[in-house]
């Protein structure tokens, strides 16, 4: 039984765009985690080339698509000009389901916290998959290094240290 996580469009795009042994590493990650996507994320994914990867996974049920609630409406009225549809939809679904939410955008991350959900960033999620779901440290390092350019440089050394610590704990 794998733990379920709600992913925003940013982390989903990262998973679908970088290859691990020639194929996007979403295929590897799905062995260690269940991925839920809010309908707003599906809409955004459907407008880009990651849809070629995401669509079949939804059709086979390997990724689940869930409608986010309308509430809290203030997310749209107050933040509609500042956050994207996927980000607002992800926060609403996180509130509704109470699952761990993976959000990379700084503004969306802060707003999510204001609503009482405590998201994690992509790199911390990868660390979590090592610590809690037996994703190998080697694979995690490969994923983190391949996608490092998308995140502030200062995160990388810390993330690699966390992964090294995880490896020591499992030995």
């Amino acid at each position: 039984m794998t733990t379920s996580y709600i992913l925003d469009t940013g982390p989903l795009s990262t998973l679908c765009s970088f290859p691990l042994n020639g194929s996007p590493y979403i295929y590897t990650v799905l062995k260690y985690a269940s991925v839920l996507l809010a309908d707003g994320v599906i809409t955004e994914a459907g407008r880009g080339k990651i849809w070629r990867t995401v669509s079949p996974l939804i059709n086979t049920g390997e990724i689940k698509s869930i409608s986010s609630p309308i509430e809290p409406e203030i997310l749209d009225t107050s933040y509609g000009n500042d956050l994207g549809l996927g980000e607002r939809s992800t926060i609403k679904l996180g509130l509704k389901l109470g699952l761990i939410t993976v959000i990379d955008d700084r503004d969306a991350f802060v707003v999510a916290n204001r609503f009482g959900i405590h998201p994690i960033g992509f790199q911390d999620w990868v660390v979590k998959l090592v610590q809690e779901s037996d994703l190998s440290v080697q694979t995690a390092i490969e994923i983190v290094k391949a996608s490092a350019k998308q995140y502030p440089k200062m995160y990388l050394a810390h993330t690699l240290q966390l992964l090294s610590s995880s490896e020591l704990r499992t030995k």
């Binding site: 880009g48 500042d82 994207g84």
Partner: protein, 81 residues
């Protein structure tokens, strides 16, 4: 050799076509290379200044997440604050 700006414009045409369901030629007729670059740099400045999120940036630019990252990368513009 193609300039980075020309490469970014080509990426935009393809991404915008996918985003809207139009053809690249239709997108090209709607926004020329200079207009594209001015707009994307202006939006990027606002994004970096904290005016809106990356998700909102994609909506305003009219391209999807991954494609916007590739366009910014081609222009040597940072994709994070």
């Amino acid at each position: 050799m193609q300039t980075k700006e020309a490469h970014a414009y080509d990426l935009f045409l393809e991404a915008r076509a996918l985003y809207t369901g139009k053809t690249s030629s239709e997108v090209r007729s709607e926004i020329d290379a200079d207009e594209f670059e001015a707009r994307i740099r202006a939006l990027h400045y606002q994004y970096i200044s904290g005016k809106f999120s990356f998700g909102r940036f994609t909506e305003l630019a009219g391209v999807a997440h991954l494609e916007l990252r590739e366009i910014l990368d081609a222009l040597d513009l940072s994709t994070h604050h």
